[in-house]
Symmetry: C2
Subunit: 281 residues, 2 copies
């Protein structure tokens, strides 16, 4: 599909993407840029990587597709750094979990002969790092592609086809709608799991021994990288606070049912939550 692609910052997502692109034959040549010499070595030792660079401009020269896989707060810096080295017709995308600020800024940073169209393959895990990478990470998972009004439709189709080719279920939405959706279904649930762990970290140590699978499931994502999530929360601050408002209203209403012994109403609310959860599977 592409002659050459460049993956910038091959962590869990970037390295998995390299593996998948290689396995499905989506690029004749796969290059990476990595900050650490050790990461570059690991990549060059892998079957999917043709060459690893320490210089950003060199890494992107001649590539038709560039995928930026850094934490969200570094994405636009990278776009700025590579802008001058982008080839004619280059398509730049990212895998960041927030989109509004990134997509609006990046569209202005790339030269006229190239395009930036944001992507969010929803295929993370509480783990991070290349050592957990696998080519099947994206299989049957959702991917949101977030063009802006000016994005050429041919380029949107191209990035959509790329994600579909590695097995993803792709939907296009505006960057703003994206941020609203993921604030509710991903960022806020993550915050909730972290706050629950924070509260429990103040309880006696001995109580840990009594925790069951329920608590383990509910809090699993709180094991995610504090730095990665800090940057996501910072980027999506406004929508995150809106999701928090909605949750607090819901929680206050549940508190009042419990406080006032309105058990039939509480049971009804629990069954609405149960239906939602059952339909997720």
């Amino acid at each position: 599909m592409f002659q050459q692609i460049t993956i910038i910052a091959p962590g869990l997502l970037g390295a998995s993407l390299g593996m998948a692109a290689h396995e499905y034959g989506l690029a004749k040549r796969i290059q990476v840029w990595a900050r650490r010499a050790e990461s570059r070595q690991s990549c060059e030792d892998s079957a999917w990587c043709d060459q690893a660079f320490s210089d950003l401009a060199e890494a992107v020269q001649g590539s038709e597709l560039i995928v930026i896989c850094t934490p969200v707060d570094r994405i636009t810096e990278i776009v700025r750094d590579i802008a001058g080295a982008l080839s004619e017709g280059a398509l730049v995308t990212d895998v960041g979990s927030t989109k509004s600020r990134i997509c609006r800024l990046a569209a202005h940073l790339v030269p006229d002969h190239a395009n930036f169209i944001g992507s969010h393959p929803m295929a993370g895990s509480e783990k991070s790092g290349m050592q957990y990478a696998e080519s099947t990470l994206f299989k049957n998972r959702a991917c949101l592609v977030t063009p802006i009004e000016e994005s050429p439709s041919g380029e949107v189709d191209r990035i959509v086809r790329f994600w579909r080719a590695i097995g993803m279920e792709v939907t296009s939405v505006s960057p703003e709608k994206h941020d609203e959706i993921v604030a509710h279904i991903s960022h806020f649930p993550h915050l909730l799991a972290s706050v629950l762990c924070l509260q429990l970290s103040r309880c006696p140590e001995a109580w840990k021994a009594f925790s069951g699978n329920g608590l383990r499931d509910t809090t699993r994502i709180a094991a995610g990288s504090p730095e990665i999530w800090r940057s996501i929360f910072e980027e999506n601050k406004e929508e995150l606070l809106r999701a928090l408002d909605g949750f607090e209203n819901e929680l206050a209403s549940i508190r009042s049912l419990i406080h006032n012994d309105e058990w039939a109403s509480l049971r009804h609310r629990l069954s609405l939550g149960q239906s939602y959860r059952e339909e997720l599977d």
Copy 2:
């Protein structure tokens, strides 16, 4: 270990217990009481069950150990109903997720020649019903045994040994301490997952397609039976509200960090939550 035990209300926990007691040879004879004829038939068709009764008094006569496996709001009624039929030296326990009210009341309801000592084998699941039962359900899981001041220590030892014999890690605590602990590590996390699902159930239906494993994990327990959880929340109302107070304080403090752009402090809090979660595994 026991000549005869009776399991009252063989759902997921009761039937699993029957299977485990049978497999480990802990009782010469295992009887059950079940309300529905269909459940009685299922039990009698199973290798672990010797006889199923529709009459409570008949079901407990001659049994040394009686385990009540109904939802928490029915346990003391059952104790009242079987009190007159208990044999000399009979030990009555339950598997309820709340303990204070049940243990204090039940101790007064059983005759002088018998004892009630509460148990909470923490081995549930979001599933309920005999069809999911398995003898390994209790293996390496925590069990809290909740004697009161008057409970004879020999009887406490007896029930502790019983749960240990099916593979559980048993700790004795007062019924009040039990309720405080589980409000924090089980009941409140369950409420939180339900409230999150309730909030998400008000979002556009289409957003479900974008949910990832993180959301699935975080909300899994919200699929639990609304009726069972309503009764648990009702029984443990006071401790649940206390856990909610603590959580709301924590959440308000996190909200203020986000609102005021105190990202370094937020990152520190996230890392405290991460440490707690990592130590759970």
